[in-house]
Symmetry: C3
């Protein structure tokens, strides 16, 4: 789970949009995008909750059908969602002080990830 | 849970938008929209997870108040969300290869469903 | 959990947009935005489900690190999401009859909340 807030904010700033919104979309079916207070405690609480909702070592039909081991990752992605849209105000990404955008890579091996950021407005 | 990716992609293609985003919104409070790798295993894993989070046969206050039997469906809809927004790039819906948009009808009886697709961009 | 549908609908009506979409974004990391049939039963079912997913009195690393008591609120916010985007059709917010937009304040004390509404379209 990595904090991508500053990268999204840079794209918003470079876009010249003052009032509008920004869509942040992860590409793939084993990742998620959401916001959290990005500090080790809250991030660890989120990891633990996801492990309870979709345990890594449970029996998954996806794994049984395909010989994969990432059924839990598909499940977490479908439940969290891969895309979120935030406001742009005063030419800036408009979030709370303790609210950061995170990219969650749920897969069972390290992967390069692509996040598409689209800014709209005037 | 049905795969609506090709229908959304067709609307994007017909819109003439090359760079932008597309909003996919289910109408109602007993359905959900998300993405998943649309193969029987992952879909079955998602059904099972939702049955654990909001069991069909649990006691729901919604059912007790209204004589309904779809309290679980309202709960699943509120937790998953009914709307998602995806990028459009190169005049196409921009998703991962194994990432499909699904409409989840959670209700306790067959229903016709309406999904509103809105394409934005240039 | 309060119903903010009529406030969002008023902003849509005042915007002059006839066809498009509206983004509804809560500011902060201890709140959520979603839709539900806004009646006491379904709302109570949602509260109970969130209490099972992220119990208020569980042990949270966030609380242990910071002396806070709202680790559950951060978790609920990250899992539900703080922002949703709905269609605008015929100059109106386009939702189901029994589908209301709710702002969920998960924090452990009363707070003033800010929701940013952005309308797009023609």
């Amino acid at each position: 789970m990595i904090d991508i807030t500053s990268r999204v904010a840079s794209i918003v700033a470079a876009s010249g949009v003052r009032e509008g919104m920004v869509n942040v979309a992860g590409k793939g079916s084993t990742l998620g995008v959401t916001t959290i207070e990005y500090e080790p405690g809250a991030v660890s609480d989120l990891r633990r909750a996801l492990e309870q909702i979709a345990p890594a070592n449970d029996d998954y039909a996806h794994n049984a059908h395909w010989g994969d081991h990432n059924g839990f990752a598909h499940l977490r992605s479908a439940l969290m969602g891969t895309t979120q849209t935030y406001p742009v105000r005063g030419a800036s990404l408009y979030l709370g002080t303790w609210q950061q955008i995170i990219l969650c890579d749920f897969d069972d091996r390290p992967r390069d990830r692509e996040v598409t950021v689209t800014v709209f407005g005037e």
